[in-house]
Point group: none
Chain length 197, copies 4
Amino acid sequence: MKDGDEGTGQAARPKRADARRNEESLLDAAAAVFVASGVEAPVRDIAAKAGVGVGTIYRHFPTRADLITAVYQHQIDACAEAGPRLLETSATPHAALARWIDLFVDFLVTKHGLAAVLQSDSPGFETLHSSFLDRLVPVCSELLEAAAGAGEIHSDLGAYELMRGVGNLCIGAEGDSRYDARRLVALLIAGLRQPQS
Amino acid sequence: MKDGDEGTGQAARPKRADARRNEESLLDAAAAVFVASGVEAPVRDIAAKAGVGVGTIYRHFPTRADLITAVYQHQIDACAEAGPRLLETSATPHAALARWIDLFVDFLVTKHGLAAVLQSDSPGFETLHSSFLDRLVPVCSELLEAAAGAGEIHSDLGAYELMRGVGNLCIGAEGDSRYDARRLVALLIAGLRQPQS
Amino acid sequence: MKDGDEGTGQAARPKRADARRNEESLLDAAAAVFVASGVEAPVRDIAAKAGVGVGTIYRHFPTRADLITAVYQHQIDACAEAGPRLLETSATPHAALARWIDLFVDFLVTKHGLAAVLQSDSPGFETLHSSFLDRLVPVCSELLEAAAGAGEIHSDLGAYELMRGVGNLCIGAEGDSRYDARRLVALLIAGLRQPQS
Amino acid sequence: MKDGDEGTGQAARPKRADARRNEESLLDAAAAVFVASGVEAPVRDIAAKAGVGVGTIYRHFPTRADLITAVYQHQIDACAEAGPRLLETSATPHAALARWIDLFVDFLVTKHGLAAVLQSDSPGFETLHSSFLDRLVPVCSELLEAAAGAGEIHSDLGAYELMRGVGNLCIGAEGDSRYDARRLVALLIAGLRQPQS
DNA sequence: TATGAATGAGTATTCATTCAT
DNA sequence: GATGAATGAATACTCATTCAT
């Protein structure tokens, strides 16, 4: 819709296909560099990996947050979509929540530095917050409410807070063998089950 | 020894007193800048705040980690010393642990960016890790073992991992009113009480 | 190849021409600054003289040695190429050697500080050594061997050693009217003629 | 006089002896540091080695050249005094010259960086030049004149120029096994024997 | 549209030299 | 006289971002 006349079915804009292909190869390159050097990698490295000029990066993704967002959009979407499904297929809402959080952790832990940048409050990362949190918080919220509704948890913890917490626990998890983010997240979720101390 | 014998009453080295005073005002300035701009603040900013040249900073604290450590040494010590005391005065070991963790959170939450830098694995922050973790992990460990010994928790979670987790939860806590690190930490500690899922 | 095919007549990459022009003005500026302040002049001075930002210097010449090398490349080449020619046109190989060394001295003496940096063994000047010595030592070697073959000199002095010696004699020659590097070099070359003492 | 009652024969000024001792230990320390790190070593290193404050260095030796001069004064003197003696004891003046130059080379080659600093023309090293050249040039001059008088050399090369040349040849000699300053100096001296080309 | 050259602010760090104690 | 703390100029280098071609 936003993108216009796709409903017409015709060739539309050939440029368009080109640009899209270009953008995708950009995203692939960025993803690769993110894995290798973290999401704070120099713009030029990404451009070099993609075989384009830095200007092209900036054209497509004015801010770094835009780029990060785009790179992970698919996975964000997948994560968001998994929520309702897990709610249906799991034994209890709390189990669904736990499994969904697992997905989120899987997502973050493999992305070098993503969790860290996710909690940055510097302006310009608002886009990133929007993409991540605006998209996922409602899903998480639904799961939380279901669990609360089922009496499994009685916390008044908000979804935003929970996700921030989980995100934080994932910071620096990669590369430190003495630190297992999943274990801590599991404790956190377990803690939801019983009365606050 | 060289200047520790102030009990003798002699002047010893007058310089020393001067330098010490200076060092303290340096620490005050650094603390202030850390609060305002985080522990990664430019050295020059700290020097300016303290009204000294950058060289003076480097003289007293060759690395940034040395400075950070010094700034927080008192609080680290206080935290470390509180452990055994809490164990004696609390109703149960788990309660002692919870209260001790509270102290640790209090400490971190008010230090802009400290938690973040605490999990940095870049070389040069080893000193920082040493000061923080080497000092506090044993205390935390003792509390954990006491609680485990009392059968209150049965986790095999190590003290290092717990502290890292708590530290992470404190990242970015200041300044985001929607995020309450204490609440999440409380959940984590609560989670310790029951069987891992 | 990418831009070497200017013979085809097409525009190829217009940028390239621009950048090349820019690079040349950079070299001019650097040469001027080298004359004025020596080859160890601050990067910023060179940038200022060229009217560009420091980044531009670094883009074109990542290390100082690269810059120095580029500045003098033409003269190095000319010197290298003169060797065989002199061998053909001179009365004797020793005469050719003497005249070639003269060229080398002419080159060095007018470059403030070049001779000094040429003997630096700090890493990062390897490029410089390569450009200078790797290029010129073989030429000098050929001349030496020819002279030895003709029975004019019987020294076992190596070309590297000779060039280092000549280079050293040129250090500080400019600006001291009491010191004439050429005269000393001539003595050295003359000394090659007779038995070592 | 200025120093007071030395005429009385009593203890004179104990300070004096003290200061001299102090100055000597300073020179020892400086010599050691010069060997280890070159004559351009940081002042503070020298002070540390000597176990004194930097201020003490500056009091005794306002400029670095003063310090260098003082450190090598004994050897300069020894070198200067050797000239006339060699002239008497050697077979010919040229042989005396060659041997004297050998002494000079021995001196320089073992002093990391001394030869390099010796040719510096930055103001502030005048003292150094004075100490070295003013003292040694006359000696060298005498040797040169003797050799010229004996018809062994007919060069009009001045002593200053010769010494500068020899000094230059010694630059960077230490540490480069491919470069033997003595051999080159010998060539230079040999070159003195025959007609300039 | 794409390119990538140019820019220059930002930061760390060293070290000679001064001067209050 | 001795000390060494303080100073700050000097310099290298990186990298995000802009803009002419």
